[in-house]
């Protein structure tokens, strides 16, 4: 099998490759979004703690 033949996917390249590109995008989006969600929650919790601290003093 040649490299060109592999990328041509027997004529189905325009259907196969977008599927794999989307799959990678969905996995990466999940990773990015889950990390961001936790980071934002952490930031909000730190802000809540800072506010509680300033009220006491």
């Amino acid at each position: 099998m040649t490299v060109d033949g592999f990328f041509a996917m027997g004529g189905y390249a325009r259907y196969v490759w977008p599927c794999y590109a989307l799959a990678i995008s969905v996995l990466l989006w999940n990773l990015w979004s889950a990390r961001r969600y936790h980071a934002q929650a952490l930031k909000r919790a730190q802000r809540a703690l800072a506010m509680a601290g300033s009220e006491r003093s």
């Binding site: 027997g10 196969v16 599927c19 989307l22 799959a23 969905v26 996995l27 889950a34």
Partner: protein, 244 residues
């Protein structure tokens, strides 16, 4: 047994356990997906009818499976939260929703891209396709309903109720290919008899299923941590953890 159950409902335990599991899930998922993609795209033989277009199945079938698994998990966790008033169950239910919805989109779009060369159309109002689209709308409905309430506890209850009602759609999706005269092919792997796929095509598919499942688990752990923090912001254990 009960102490384990109680610990599962304890937010700091959930927060720490999720952090411990996530990297391992992600590591094994990465290995399994890498193997599945290489074996599925390069070494598996082309299908005698579908040629190389069949290779779409390696992302399509695990995505479709996760779309239904995620919804069921969301509904079961919601039910546990409603019945036993366990906050962490609602947190799981909330964390699953966007992950499940993303895999539903992946399943629908890859199916559509496969349908064009094989069925001659990107979309048909076929029982399997229509019920899967309804699943996507149910995910969106549950997510927006939860977000629509000022009081998170009321949002949790409303979202859980909708998730539970909507779960009837899951068996409809699964059995749609048997109950109706669907364009979509019947079950290949997820059935009780022997799989109707040869090993050279099946192994990469099983690896992709494993990889996608573990990836889903890793994402659930990571999102769950954010969900727990958001819900427990005012509690003493979070403050102690942040001060440390």
């Amino acid at each position: 047994m009960w102490t384990w159950f109680y610990r599962l409902a304890s937010p700091p335990y959930v927060y720490r356990t999720a952090a411990a599991f996530a990297p391992w899930f992600l590591l094994i998922a990465g290995i399994a997906i890498a193997y599945g993609v290489i074996d599925g795209l390069v070494f598996a033989p082309p299908d005698y009818q579908q040629g190389n277009a069949f290779r779409i199945i390696y992302v399509h079938a695990p995505a479709g499976w996760l779309s239904m698994f995620g919804y069921t998990l969301m509904a079961v966790a919601g039910a546990i939260g409603l019945i036993w008033r366990i906050k962490m169950a609602h947190a799981v239910s909330a964390a699953v929703a966007p992950i499940g919805a993303s895999f539903t989109v992946l399943g629908l779009v890859t199916g559509s891209l496969w349908g064009r060369p094989m069925w001659g159309t990107y979309w048909a109002w076929d029982p399997r396709l229509t019920s899967e689209l309804i699943l996507l709308f149910l995910y969106f409905g549950v997510m927006s309903l939860r977000a629509a309430f000022e009081d998170p506890a009321r949002g949790d209850r409303a979202a859980a109720l909708l998730a539970i009602v909507g779960v009837v759609n899951v068996p409809i999706i699964h059995f749609s290919v048997q109950w109706w005269n669907s364009l979509h092919q019947g079950a290949t792997v997820m059935k009780f008899e022997k799989s109707s796929m040869p090993g050279s095509m099946l192994w990469p598919l099983l690896a992709m299923f494993l990889g996608f499942m573990l990836f889903f688990g890793a994402m659930l752990c990571m999102r769950l941590r954010g969900e727990v923090l958001n819900r427990e912001r005012q509690s003493s254990w979070v403050r102690e953890m942040l001060r440390a």
